[in-house]
Symmetry: C2
Amino acid sequence: MAGSTKDIDALIELMARLPGLGPRSARRAVLHLIRKRALLLTPLADLMGQVAATARECLNCGNVGTSDICDICTDERRATGELCVVEDVADLWAMERSGVFKGRYHVLGGTLSALDGVGPEELRIPRLADRVTAESISEVILALNATIDGQTTAHYIADQLGGRVRLTSLAQGVPIGGELDYLDDGTISAAMRARKDL
Amino acid sequence: MAGSTKDIDALIELMARLPGLGPRSARRAVLHLIRKRALLLTPLADLMGQVAATARECLNCGNVGTSDICDICTDERRATGELCVVEDVADLWAMERSGVFKGRYHVLGGTLSALDGVGPEELRIPRLADRVTAESISEVILALNATIDGQTTAHYIADQLGGRVRLTSLAQGVPIGGELDYLDDGTISAAMRARKDL
Ligand SMILES: [Zn+2]
Ligand SMILES: [Zn+2]
């Protein structure tokens, strides 16, 4: 782009690839970063380098952390026999913010989708059955989004695990077509407390 | 935040301070960055470090670049005798994208504002008069936003420079209350071509 320099242009171009930022907001963000060099740009560069070097998916549950097995999976107090299945890490974080769930998670990494060619092997579904046995799980809570793909995925998992474990899903409070990460913490708490058997 | 780690939390917190990103979009952006580690997170960390180390304001015009005097100010082909005054660097970039202006710029760094206590000394206004003489400027184009503060600033500058130089402002095409950086390139071109004497 005329008027700036190669590095600044490249930075704008990369920032524009972030979800929620387009070219215009990326330009604004980069100017803001340059103005707040010591407070924002330098710390952000350092932290991004740090996270790039250390962040990884938990081999057990798919949560994002800085070790092979995440803090939730290594915390013995969370071995409650309850396993909460979510679509992605943002949903796990939303659930944790609500503070209502004390067990462990299983992050699928998406939903089944015939249209997008996503089958059970593309998700973390085979591992779910293994965990039910290995971790003596008594209840699997399917906290999937109330979308068609989310519900298709819930039914598929219910078929796979049927009879081996108590299966529940989030109940009232999750609006039709709603996504967990958009809901306030109170709504999530209410839905979790009122969960029903499938 | 429960469920993630210290570095990731800190990264989310810093990202949420960028204009256009709130806490929720910052969380989404950070998960996206972690998923696209090689393509996005590592290059972004490197570029931010690079820009933090090299970016600076041009001592002459206030543009952002990587040298004390920016590429536009050092380019002799841009010594056309025309000087375009803008509020901030985003406006300079918008003007450059339109490709209509071949002279040099003067970035004020804001507008006069009695309410916010911004006087001429807080902006790059005193230096503007010096440049008119030093760079044999024949025309100063006041490309300020069509806001009350923008127009107040234009009148103040016109008073300061009155009689020494031809003063023009962007004319038709700039909507009332509109900001340059929101306009499409064609609108800016049209307004520049139809500029009128003050
Ligand atoms: Zn884990
Ligand atoms: Zn310059």
